[in-house]
Assembly symmetry: C2
Amino acid sequence: MNFPDRLRVIQERKGSLLCLGLDVDRAKLPAPLRRSRTGVFDFISAVVDATYDLVCAYKPNLAFFEAMGSEGWDILRRTVCLIPQNIITIGDGKRGDIGNTGERYAAALFDDLRFDAVTVSPYMGRDSVEPFLTRPDKGVFLLALTSNKGSADFQRLRVAGRPLYERVVKTASSWSPGIGFVVGAIHPRELKQVRTLAPNAPLLIPGVGSQGGDLEASVLNGITKHRDLAVINASRSILYASSGRDFAKAARAEAQRLRDAMERVRAR
Amino acid sequence: MNFPDRLRVIQERKGSLLCLGLDVDRAKLPAPLRRSRTGVFDFISAVVDATYDLVCAYKPNLAFFEAMGSEGWDILRRTVCLIPQNIITIGDGKRGDIGNTGERYAAALFDDLRFDAVTVSPYMGRDSVEPFLTRPDKGVFLLALTSNKGSADFQRLRVAGRPLYERVVKTASSWSPGIGFVVGAIHPRELKQVRTLAPNAPLLIPGVGSQGGDLEASVLNGITKHRDLAVINASRSILYASSGRDFAKAARAEAQRLRDAMERVRAR
């Protein structure tokens, strides 16, 4: 089954557009786990156990694992393994390099780490993205308009009268019909425009939760006319909902709150 | 000592602008090493031993190590350790993410792996680059105009009458005077223009060797008026100069040929 179809089925059957971003920072773990050698993986395991029925996807943030060195890479691989198969795994690394190098990143992310999908940076153009597009069952979310302040520096520059990120969406959609895009939840109007330009593309929408993006608009403007393929991510607001022993329960409560709020909008 | 000054001293004392890119692919190793458990690291060790007096920098390509999983991360760390301290190490990963994530990448690359410099993608703007700019002794090479065909897709789009990569150079130079840029050797005219826009910036110039870039123009158009700060990279043409037992000797001969050719132009 190709990636968009699989994502659609999962979102429909689970009744969830929620993606939980795994930005796991040892310094933010509850004290007993912070001091434990296996604390990071134990934390991830507990959070996944507490939330797996509420999410359509998990999105490990590669930077947080790389900062732990080769141990982090092992934890990352084990993290992907423990996620149930009916949930999408998104390797958020924002890679992008020339062809022979891009093939290595694709091998690392799709074969070694076994992610279902990845985030990719568009700056180097078509041949830097293509190595990730060769497998219909795997997904690509190309950066379009990101959730940070710096998104204004280059992504919004005018190219022939329209912003650069729109050009990225239009051009990349012509490379592959199934390619997806990243649009931050803090840009609801622009999200609507991207959905118009790419009516059937998977959209990864980070920034609800700690970053303060607009949940209602993320759903309304992000979903397709079939009410799916918007993958709406929260990370820290769920992971660190409590810094006490009840962290997993608190993570579940916050995930449930976000999932339910999204479903209410989706059902309108 | 800040990064550009250190690079300048090394290039002057060693008489070399050559950077050797470590794109190490097990499948391309000489047969005995290919079959050995420690073959990748043994190959890198032998190549470094054979070339360290000829280069100003080594540039491990992170994708090739990541494709080997956590073992690759260990090999990468040991590779950085074995490079003599009077040679610059450039972690070529083209990272770039929102602030709190960028800090993790900076920690991974500068603290855990101990690189002297990194390559960074500009697409996400200032706050995605800043985590790499906080340490004056560390270098950043921001992607401007890359050596691949896809560089034409977005990097050359016109923004207010000038190509996007020029805007990247101008804008990022205003963030930090010491920031460097990546400009492919296959674009000699554009390299000259970038050198004009950023007269004192370190420039990383990949693509001489296998990719066929112009060595003479890379030196003439890449160096500052003090004849330095052009870091000219070749990878496969040196690493795989021979697939036999004489691979290290052949790598040295090709490195010497390129270094000497560059020095002849530099001395004009």
